[in-house]
């Protein structure tokens, strides 16, 4: 299994833990993103994730290699769900084992921050009121103040 992958089926935290477990690691940190029942004041019913999978897989693998270069990692996996998700479903998981716990926290956070920013995944939310919409990236508001270029 690739360290970064997309899945069109349910993913469980237990699957990732089993992949990451090894006898030399004392520390395991996992991040899970769950589908919330609300976003920016709207009641969410369900959502869909879509990805540019070929480039996304390469970019995810690059992020994991960067984390391995920066931190002392034993084992790491990241899986991003695609397709239709319901409230409470796991949308993304990063699991990292390390000899020392500080690096497990830092590596896990580095990976999820970079994945959310760089991997081409899009989210369409369906709301209780019948509306739906594609959600914009989380750094766009901040980035808009920093750049005048990039208008396309």
């Amino acid at each position: 299994m690739n360290r970064f992958s997309f899945s069109h089926e349910d993913v469980s935290g237990e699957q990732i833990r089993r992949l990451v477990a090894d006898e030399t690691s004392g520390a395991y940190v996992a991040f899970e993103g769950w589908v919330r029942n609300h976003n920016e004041g709207q009641q969410v019913l369900r959502l869909e994730y879509e990805a540019f999978e070929s480039l996304g897989t390469k970019e995810g693998e690059r992020i994991i290699r960067e984390a391995e270069q920066r931190f002392g990692i034993s084992t790491v996996y990241c899986v991003h769900r695609l397709g239709k998700l319901e409230i409470g479903d796991l949308a993304v998981i990063v699991g990292v084992s390390t000899p020392h716990r500080g690096e497990a926290f830092e590596a896990c956070r580095y990976i999820i921050d970079e994945v959310k920013h760089r991997v081409p995944v899009w989210k369409k939310e369906h709301y209780v009121n019948g509306d739906s919409g594609w959600v914009n990236c989380e750094r766009c508001a901040a980035a808009a103040h920093q750049h005048d270029h990039g208008e396309h």
């Binding site: 480039l55 991003h80 993304v92 750049h147």
Partner: protein
């Protein structure tokens, strides 16, 4: 005149109503191709778009070649 393959995702796929198409164009760069298609299909106004050529991120100023595979990447929203 060159022929390139374009794949559409997310809001662009829904807006245009297709996943992919083959396009013939006289333009030179990826940015010019975006502008041409944005005018043709009346794309919604979007900022901070990125572009990929042949499955790698590229620059808007990159020159296109015959047979390139192009993806316009709207702002992402993973996890």
């Amino acid at each position: 005149m060159i022929t390139v393959q374009i794949e559409y995702f997310a809001i662009l796929r829904e807006h245009i109503g297709k996943n992919a198409e083959e396009v013939q164009t006289e333009v030179v760069t990826a940015g010019e191709l975006y502008d041409e298609l944005a005018a043709r299909y009346a794309f919604p106004h979007m900022t901070h778009m990125k572009v990929a050529i042949n499955d790698e991120f590229s620059e808007w100023g990159a020159a296109l070649a015959e047979g390139d595979s192009i993806v316009f990447i709207p702002p992402v929203a993973g996890g």
